[in-house]
C-alpha cells in the first residue's frame, strides 16, 4: 500500500514573525514560503538554482530558496520581498527600481531587489562592478540589466542620504 510521506512540524522565523508549518522534509524553503505561508512575492522561475527569482535573505545573506530545504532554516532569520516596505513606505531599493525602470515584466524583480538589498546592507558604497557581481545569479529575460545597475547606484546614494 502506498503511503503519503510523513510530515513534521517546522518552526520558521519569516519577516520577523514566528511561523510553524507541517511539511515533508523535502519541502523547499521556496515552496514553504509560497504555498504554506502564502508569501507569493518570492518567485519560482526554475526550481533548480539557475535563475535567482527565488532569492531571499537567510541571516542577511542572499540564498536561492529553491535550493534550501525549509527544515534547514529552523531558527534562521528569513527575509522576503514582503518585508521591505514598512507602513506602506517602500524601501529605497524598491523606490529606485521604479524610478530607473529597472524592471519590465517584474517577475525576476523581487529576487533582484533582495540581492541588491543584501549587497547594500553589507556595502553602502558599491561600485558598478560590485553591483553586477551581486546580481550575476539573478537572470532577467526582459533585459532590464542596465537599469538595475542604475537603480542600485541610486538606491545606495539615497540610503547614504538617510533613505
Amino acid at each position: 500500500m502506498l503511503k503519503a510521506s510523513a510530515k513534521s512540524l517546522v518552526q520558521l522565523q519569516v519577516n520577523g514573525q514566528a511561523q510553524e508549518i507541517s511539511i515533508e522534509p523535502r519541502r523547499t524553503l521556496l515552496d514553504a514560503l509560497r504555498v504554506d505561508l502564502g508569501l507569493t512575492g518570492t518567485k519560482k522561475g526554475c526550481d533548480e538554482g539557475t535563475c535567482g527569482a527565488c532569492t531571499v535573505l537567510k541571516e542577511g545573506k542572499p540564498v536561492y530558496s529553491c535550493l534550501t530545504l525549509a527544515i534547514e532554516c529552523e531558527h534562521s532569520r528569513i527575509e522576503t520581498i514582503e518585508n521591505l516596505a514598512k507602513d506602506g513606505k517602500m524601501h529605497p531599493v524598491q523606490f529606485a527600481f521604479i524610478e530607473q525602470d529597472a524592471l519590465q515584466c517584474g517577475f525576476c524583480t523581487p529576487g533582484q531587489i533582495m540581492s541588491i538589498k543584501a549587497l547594500l546592507d553589507q556595502n553602502p558604497k558599491p561600485t558598478e562592478s560590485d553591483i553586477k557581481r551581486a546580481v550575476t545569479g539573478n537572470l532577467c529575460r526582459c533585459g532590464a540589466y542596465p537599469n538595475i545597475v542604475k537603480a542600485a547606484l541610486s538606491a545606495a546614494e539615497r540610503l547614504r542620504r538617510g533613505g
Binding site: 512575492g41 533548480e48 535563475c51 521604479i98 515584466c105 517584474g106 533585459g143 538595475i148
Partner: protein, 772 residues
C-alpha cells in the same frame, strides 16, 4: 456610424486581407506640431509599486482554498505510438485526485487538428501522455513515476533537411512540409537580374533554435463557480485563450472568463491556451476544486515554443555602382512537430531594399521536436542576419562602404507594392547611428585599439518590421464623482509599459493629473475586446481607442460642466483636473459639479480607427556594433551597440528605452550565446535548463546607446504611434555578425558566434584534424 471595410492587415511580418467594422473614429490625429504635457514625457510605471513589493499577482501566484495541482507525464521518445497505459498504481497514491489520459479524456482537436488533447501518437519527446491532479505538486511527481506506459517506438527525424527526403519518417499524413508547399514571393525576373549584375555573392547561413525562457513558465489556474469557468492564464491574449477554451470545452463565451493581470514574460510564446489550460479546466470540473497547472523550466524548454532553426541561402547581384539587381532568398525552417504557419524569414529580403528583381521561397518542415512559437520578430531576426551579411559581402566586393551601399539601395517606397510609407525614419537612423558609433572613424579606432591577438571590428544592420496595429480594439473611460478616471480596455500588460502609456494618453486628453487615472485590463468578462499583445501592436491598436474614449468623456464632461457651472462651453477648458473659465480665469475642481449630480457617471467610448488604405506602415531602425575578438581564445566581446529606431511618436521615452535595451539584449543572446542542442540520433533536447541554455546575464551587457527618431506618423492612427516591442531585436545579430566578420576578415555563416566557430573559421585546418 459603423462602416464595414476590407483592409490589408499585417501581423508578425505576414500580410492578409481582413474585413473590419470601423466605428466613427473621426478624431484628428495628433500632428507633429502638437504640444503635450504628459505624452512624450518620461513617466515611471503606474503599476511599479505592485511589481517591486511582491504584491503583483502573477498566474503562478493564484492560490485558492482547496486548490489542487497538476503535472504532466511526458513521452521520453521523440516518435512513438502508445500501446497501453496503466494508471492504477498511481491512482492509489494518497493525495491523487484524478488522472487524465486518452482513455478518459474528451477528444479535443489540438494544433489546428494536427493532434489531439491526448494523442496515442507521440511526435516529440516531451509530448503529453497523461496528467495527474493531486493535493500537492510533489505528490503529482510521485504519481507520475507510478504510471506505466507501453510505447512502440517509431523512427524519428529531427533534422529539417533530412525530414524533406522521400524516405524520411512522416510526422503527419500530408507529409513533412508545413501547409504542403513553400510560401513564395517574386517580383521582376531574378535570372535576368543576376545576368545584369557585375558582382554576385551567395552565402549559406544557419541559425540555431532559441528558447524563449520566459521567467514565469506557462501555466493556468481554473475554478468553476456554478457553470461559470474562471481561468487565470499567463498569456499575451486573454480573448484568444477564452475562445480556445470555449471551443475546446463546447462552452458559450460568456461562461468563460479569462484573467491575466501580470505576466512574467511571453515574447510570443504565450499567444493562446495550452493543454495545461484545458486540463486545469477539466480537472477543476471533475474534482469540484480549483486546479493550477504550471510548467517547470524543463517542460518550458521542451514544448512551450521556440524560434525555429533555419538554413538560408541568400544570393545578391549588384552593378559596379552598387545598385542591387537581384535578390534570391530561400529559407528552410525546422518547425518541430506542429505548426500552422511559417515565420517570414525571407521578408527582409523582399521589403528592405529597392531591388527590382526578387525571389523568395520559405519552407517550414515538421520534425520530431517541440513545436515552434512566435519569438519576438519571428523570422525577421534570422532573415535580417543573412541578408545584411550578404549586403556587407557585396559592399566588400565593390569596395563601397557598407552604409553607403545601403543608402544607394534605400527604398523610398514599399518595393512590394509601390505604395509610399506613412513615415520612414531609416535614413535619419543611419545618420544618427553612424555618428554615434563613429562609423567614419572606425578604421582609426580599429587601428588604435586592436592588438596582435585582440581585433576590433565594426558592423551594422538595418531593420524593417510591421507594428501598425489595427482594429478592432475598444476602450471605455469612466469619470468618477471625485474627479478621478478609470480607463477600461481588454488588452494585456506584458511588461512593456502599455498600461502606463494608456494612462498618459488619457491624462493628456482629459487634462487630469496622471495620478488620478487608473487603467484596467486583462479580464475578458469586464474588458472590451483588444487584440493579442504581440506583433508590436498593443499601443498602436489600443492606444488610439483610449484616446477616443477619453475625448468622448471629456466632451461630455465639458458639456455637463458648462451647464452646471453656467459657463458658455466655448469659454470652458479643463486644466490639471480643474474646469478653467478662460475668460475669468476662475478654476473649479471637476469633482465640484458632482455635488449637484451625485452619482452621475460619465462613460466615454472609443474604438480603433482604420489603417490607411493607400500607404504602407512599417517600423525602421539601424544598429551598429563594435566588437573585440580574441583570436587566441575565439571569445567575442561585444563592446558597444548603438541603436536608433523609428516607430512613430514616442509616448513614454523611459519605457521605450527599456524596450530598446531589452530587445538588444535578447538579440545579443541570439548572436553570441543562446542555442538549443539536440542529440541527432536520440532526438532528445540536451539543454532544457537555464544552466545549460545560456541567456545573457548581467555580465554580458555591453555599452548600449539607444535613441528614437521621434517622428509622429500622421497616417497610422490618431496618436501617430507604431510599435516598438519587436523592432530592436531584429538588427542586433546582423550588426554583431558583421562586426565580427570585420574584425576577423572572415565571415562566420552560422549563429551563435561561439568561440569554437571563431577558431574554426580562423584556423580551418585544425577543424579538419578534429573531425578526422
Amino acid at each position: 456610424m459603423p462602416k464595414v471595410v476590407t483592409q490589408q492587415v499585417e501581423f508578425e511580418g505576414h500580410f492578409f486581407e481582413q474585413t473590419v467594422v470601423i466605428e466613427g473614429d473621426d478624431i484628428t490625429p495628433w500632428g507633429p506640431e502638437k504640444e503635450f504635457s504628459v505624452v512624450g514625457q518620461p513617466h515611471t510605471r503606474i503599476d511599479g509599486s505592485e511589481r517591486v513589493t511582491g504584491g503583483a499577482k502573477f498566474t503562478h501566484d493564484i492560490h485558492l482554498p482547496g486548490m489542487l495541482y497538476g503535472k504532466f507525464l511526458r513521452s521520453p521518445h521523440p516518435h512513438a505510438q502508445i500501446k497501453k497505459i496503466s494508471t492504477s498504481r498511481a491512482e492509489k497514491l494518497p493525495g491523487v485526485r484524478a488522472i487524465f489520459t486518452y482513455e478518459n479524456s474528451p477528444e479535443i482537436p489540438w494544433r489546428m487538428g494536427l493532434t489531439k488533447l491526448f494523442d496515442k501518437r507521440i511526435r516529440y519527446a516531451g509530448e503529453e501522455v497523461a496528467c495527474v491532479i493531486a493535493d500537492d505538486e510533489s505528490i503529482c511527481l510521485d504519481a507520475l513515476d507510478l504510471i506505466e506506459v507501453e510505447y512502440e517506438k517509431l523512427p524519428s527525424v529531427v533534422d529539417a533537411e533530412l525530414a524533406l527526403e522521400n524516405n524520411a519518417p512522416k510526422l503527419h499524413e500530408a507529409g513533412n512540409l508545413v501547409t504542403g508547399k513553400p510560401e513564395t514571393y517574386a517580383r521582376g525576373d531574378v535570372e535576368k537580374g543576376f545576368k545584369e549584375a557585375d558582382v554576385v555573392v551567395e552565402g549559406t547561413f544557419r541559425t540555431q533554435v532559441a528558447l524563449h525562457n520566459c521567467m514565469e513558465t506557462h501555466g493556468s489556474a481554473a475554478v468553476w463557480e456554478g457553470d461559470n469557468l474562471k481561468i487565470w492564464d499567463s498569456t499575451q491574449h486573454i480573448f484568444g485563450v477564452r475562445d480556445m477554451v470555449a471551443t475546446a470545452l463546447g462552452l458559450p463565451k460568456h461562461k468563460v472568463r479569462v484573467i491575466k493581470q501580470y505576466m512574467g514574460g511571453g515574447f510570443g510564446s504565450k499567444n493562446g491556451a495550452g493543454k495545461y489550460t484545458i486540463l486545469a479546466a477539466l480537472a477543476a470540473k471533475k474534482t469540484g476544486r480549483p486546479v493550477k497547472i504550471l510548467l517547470d523550466r524543463r517542460e518550458e524548454n521542451l514544448l512551450a515554443g521556440n524560434r525555429p532553426s533555419t538554413l538560408q541561402i541568400v544570393k545578391i547581384g549588384a552593378t559596379r555602382d552598387g545598385k542591387l539587381t537581384a535578390i534570391y532568398h530561400k529559407c528552410i525552417a525546422n518547425e518541430g512537430a506542429y505548426a500552422a504557419w511559417v515565420a517570414g524569414s525571407t521578408g527582409p529580403s523582399t521589403r528592405m531594399y529597392a531591388c527590382p528583381n526578387v525571389k523568395a521561397e520559405n519552407f517550414g518542415v515538421f520534425t520530431n521536436l517541440g513545436p515552434v512559437a512566435a519569438f519576438r520578430a519571428p523570422g525577421y531576426v534570422e532573415g535580417t542576419f543573412a541578408l545584411e551579411a550578404m549586403m556587407d559581402e557585396v559592399a566588400a566586393k565593390l569596395g563601397i562602404d557598407p552604409l553607403e551601399l545601403r543608402l544607394r539601395n534605400y527604398a523610398e517606397v514599399d518595393p512590394t507594392s509601390g505604395k509610399s510609407f506613412t513615415t520612414k525614419g531609416l535614413r535619419k537612423a543611419y545618420e544618427i547611428g553612424s555618428e554615434m558609433i563613429g562609423w567614419e572613424r572606425r578604421s582609426q579606432i580599429k587601428k588604435q585599439n586592436s592588438t596582435a591577438t585582440k581585433k576590433i571590428g565594426f558592423g551594422m544592420g538595418s531593420q524593417i518590421w510591421g507594428g501598425s496595429g489595427g482594429p478592432p480594439a475598444y476602450s471605455v473611460v469612466k469619470i468618477n464623482n471625485d474627479g478621478t478616471a478609470v480607463v477600461l480596455t481588454g488588452t494585456q500588460e506584458i511588461g512593456t509599459g502599455a498600461k502606463t502609456a494608456m494612462a498618459q494618453i488619457a491624462a493628456e486628453v482629459l487634462a487630469f493629473p496622471i495620478e488620478s487615472i487608473s487603467v484596467e485590463l486583462g479580464d475578458t468578462q469586464i474588458g472590451l475586446y483588444s487584440p493579442l499583445s504581440a506583433g508590436s501592436m498593443t499601443l498602436a491598436s489600443v492606444g488610439p481607442a483610449v484616446r477616443g474614449a477619453a475625448e468622448d468623456a471629456k466632451k461630455q464632461l465639458l458639456d455637463v460642466g458648462s451647464q452646471v457651472l453656467n459657463i458658455p462651453i466655448e469659454d470652458l477648458v479643463i486644466e490639471n483636473g480643474d474646469f478653467l473659465n478662460k475668460k475669468s480665469g476662475e478654476r473649479t475642481p471637476v469633482k465640484k459639479i458632482y455635488e449637484k449630480l451625485q452619482n452621475y457617471m460619465i462613460v466615454g467610448r472609443g474604438a480603433r480607427g482604420p489603417n490607411p488604405a493607400d500607404k504602407v506602415v512599417n517600423t525602421f531602425g539601424a544598429q551598429f556594433a563594435q566588437v573585440e575578438v580574441d583570436i587566441e581564445t575565439g571569445k567575442v566581446t561585444l563592446q558597444k551597440i548603438v541603436a536608433v529606431h523609428e516607430s512613430g511618436r514616442v509616448i513614454n521615452p523611459l519605457a521605450t528605452r527599456s524596450q530598446l535595451e531589452g530587445g538588444i539584449i535578447q538579440g545579443l543572446g541570439f548572436a553570441l550565446c543562446e542555442q538549443r542542442f539536440v542529440d541527432p540520433h536520440l532526438g532528445l533536447v540536451l539543454n532544457a535548463s537555464l544552466e545549460t541554455y545560456k541567456i545573457p546575464t548581467m555580465m554580458d551587457i555591453p555599452a548600449i546607446e539607444a535613441e528614437m527618431v521621434n517622428m509622429p506618423d500622421p497616417d497610422v492612427n490618431n496618436l501617430g504611434v507604431k510599435g516598438i516591442g519587436e523592432p530592436p531585436i531584429i538588427p542586433t545579430p546582423a550588426a554583431i555578425a558583421n562586426a565580427v566578420a570585420d574584425a576577423l576578415g572572415k565571415r562566420i555563416y552560422e549563429l551563435p558566434l561561439s568561440a569554437d566557430r571563431v577558431l574554426n573559421t580562423l584556423y580551418p585546418s585544425s577543424q579538419n584534424e578534429r573531425s578526422s
